[in-house]
């Protein structure tokens, strides 16, 4: 098998370096390459026995763990695409995703099973569930589950599938403007071309220890997982709670001798501000990558003051292309600099250009929308014909350019400079948030008459989300009640910071909600 699939790259490392540590899940488990290979083979065998075929989707609905990594490779080895779902998001949203792309099997945790069954049951048939007891302390829960299933009927060894570069590898769901998340379909070619580009530029070695800070449903996880495992390095898992807790995270990065750190700017800002970094030794760090949102220069300066020696890269790109441009932050940030750094030049495996509203290339230095083509670009959105037609600029010869929706200008020296968005999408702590999805969630409140959500830039938080509601007659809900309601309906990062109740929302002369006025309230 060629190295054209993500799991073939892992298997090559398993043969080359079976005894090196592949995954370190601090305080819980470590897996050597041999163990990761064997465990993912067993997942493959079980999935094949359950009828999973190349081209199918399989749900991954569990906390990040060594088992979750082995499960991902097991799904790929069965020839299927994995669909990672946020275990901290409201169950109804997770069930929607798993039902939307009709997963054939779901690997999940026993504690999540009752709510999952109930919510998926409302939408259709519940696919077979493979349940992990994550509280098990004496062994890896995944191995225990497979043993239990084998005791009831042994799964015969199946061949590892070769779906080829065009085979679907994963579907990542992002916020959708209509109120429902949409599934970005990415192939092995997308993943492998990106991993190979990272390898060429950053030259990772088997001595590297990569952080895995991003959740598995987030596109940063692709670099985290597949780059170190291609090269025999170690993936150090950082769980959801640890990941946003700078007081505990700061010593962990030092103790684990992490060499390559990758996260959103938000967590780097938190580490600089609250992590008491001077107490620890970060001499192992070689690279700090950040992505997902703009890094304000004062906060970037703060983390560079604490961690002066690594090289810093801004990695830019939407989930639909993963990283498509990159920029190395200069070792010394000029004292007078206040504007954020550029998103930089095009990654060598892709092509970018800047176009106007008609799709024509703009004159050098003019603002326009960044569009991207090449092997890293998604196939399309799962089952959304209309959005797929709108997402691409198609040349007369059929070449497809993904329209990022990001407005940029090109600078001859620094590459692309980010100017803003063409639509109502914002980035909050690195997550993509369609304000329309928040509005759709809040509109389901029994008292809500009209809902509008705006985002305003904020010095500390990057962006603040403000919700405005007018209410039906009856008891006015408290702001606390609205926050708790939002927590039930939306992922945490979509919960508005501020709620304001108005008699009626302001309207424009054409009777549309006047968002410009709302931004000034």
């Amino acid at each position: 098998m060629s190295l054209e699939t993500l799991h073939a790259q892992l298997d090559a490392t398993v043969r080359r370096s079976p005894d090196r540590t592949a995954v370190d899940d601090p305080g819980r488990a470590t897996l050597s390459y041999r163990e990761l290979g064997a465990l993912s083979d067993r997942v493959r065998d079980r999935l094949v026995l359950l009828g999973v075929k190349p081209g199918d989707r399989v749900g991954l609905y569990m906390v990040k763990s060594a088992d979750a990594i082995a499960t991902i490779f097991g799904i790929l080895k069965a020839g299927a695409a994995y669909v990672p779902v946020d275990p901290t998001a409201p169950p109804a949203r997770c069930a929607y995703i798993l039902n939307n792309c009709s997963v054939r099997v779901i690997l999940t945790e026993r504690r999540l099973e009752p709510a999952l069954r109930e919510e998926i049951g409302k939408l259709g048939n519940v696919p077979p569930l493979l349940l992990l007891d994550m509280d098990a302390t004496d062994s890896l829960p995944l191995a225990l589950m497979l043993d239990r299933e084998d005791a009831a009927g042994r799964a015969p060894v199946a061949a590892t599938a070769d779906p080829g570069p065009a085979g679907l590898a994963y579907i990542l769901y992002t916020s959708g403007s209509t109120g429902k998340p949409k599934g970005v379909m990415l192939t092995h070619r997308c993943g492998v071309s990106y991993v190979d580009w990272c390898s060429a530029v950053f030259q990772p070695t088997e001595h590297d220890r990569f952080s895995s800070h991003a959740p598995l449903h987030f596109d940063l996880s692709i670099l985290d997982i597949y780059v170190p495992l291609k090269h025999g390095g170690t993936l150090v898992l950082i769980g959801e709670e640890m990941g946003k807790d700078p007081l505990n995270l700061a010593p962990l990065i030092a103790e684990k001798r992490i060499t390559v750190w990758y996260s959103t700017p938000s967590i780097l800002s938190l580490l600089a501000q609250y992590g008491k970094l001077a107490r620890h030794d970060y001499s192992a760090l070689r690279f700090v990558f950040f992505a997902g949102e703009v890094f304000p220069v004062p906060q970037l300066r703060a983390i560079k003051a604490s961690w002066p020696q690594p090289r810093y890269f801004n990695l830019y790109g939407p989930t639909e292309t993963n990283v498509c441009t990159y920029y190395e932050v200069p070792a010394q940030i000029p004292a007078e600099r206040t504007e954020p750094f550029p998103i930089g030049k095009t990654c060598e495996h892709l092509e970018c250009k800047v176009v106007d509203l008609d799709g024509s290339t703009v004159s050098a230095g003019d603002e326009g929308e960044l569009v991207v083509k090449g092997p890293g670009v998604m196939v399309g959105y799962w089952n959304l014909a209309e959005q797929n037609a709108a997402a691409f600029l198609v040349d007369p010869d059929g070449t497809r350019w993904y329209k990022t929706g990001d407005l940029v200008v090109e600078d001859a020296k620094d590459g692309y400079i980010f100017h803003g968005r063409r639509d109502r999408m914002v980035k909050r702590r690195g997550y993509r948030v369609e304000l329309g999805e928040i509005e759709a969630g809040l509109a389901t409140h029994v008292q809500a008459k009209e809902v509008a959500v705006v985002a305003l830039p904020d010095k500390d938080a990057g962006v603040k989300i403000k919700a405005f509601l007018s209410l039906k007659d009856g008891v006015k809900p408290s702001i606390i009640e609205m926050k708790a309601f939002s927590m039930e309906k939306l992922p945490k990062y979509m919960v508005p910071d501020v709620f304001t109740f108005l008699e009626a929302l302001p309207r424009t002369s054409t009777d549309k909600i006047d968002y410009q006025t709302l931004k000034t309230l």
Binding site: K244, L247, L270, I479
Partner: protein, 87 residues
């Protein structure tokens, strides 16, 4: 310094900082601050900084969680125990 005084001070801080426009009566001693979405992870860290400065205490990493900071009642108990340990 009584528990009531601490709760009043922290309540005023949370209302002013994280709940602008809220009716003060809606924030009770048992309102779920973390699981109820009043304090996200960033807001929790801001609250910790406020408590450390206001009361001259230092919270350890393992103390920053929903059990200790989840309600006004638990916050007051934590501040009292840290302040008395220091005295």
């Amino acid at each position: 310094m009584t528990n009531e005084e601490i709760m009043r001070t922290v309540k005023e801080y949370i209302l002013a900082t994280f709940l602008p426009g809220e009716d003060p009566k809606a924030l009770t001693e048992s309102t779920q601050l973390i699981t109820g979405g009043v304090l996200d992870s960033l807001a929790t860290l801001e609250l910790v900084s406020f408590l450390e400065q206001k009361y001259g205490i230092e919270l350890q990493a393992h103390e920053v969680d929903a059990a200790n900071l989840g309600t006004l009642t638990s916050i007051a108990a934590l501040v009292q125990s840290k302040a008395s340990a220091r005295a």
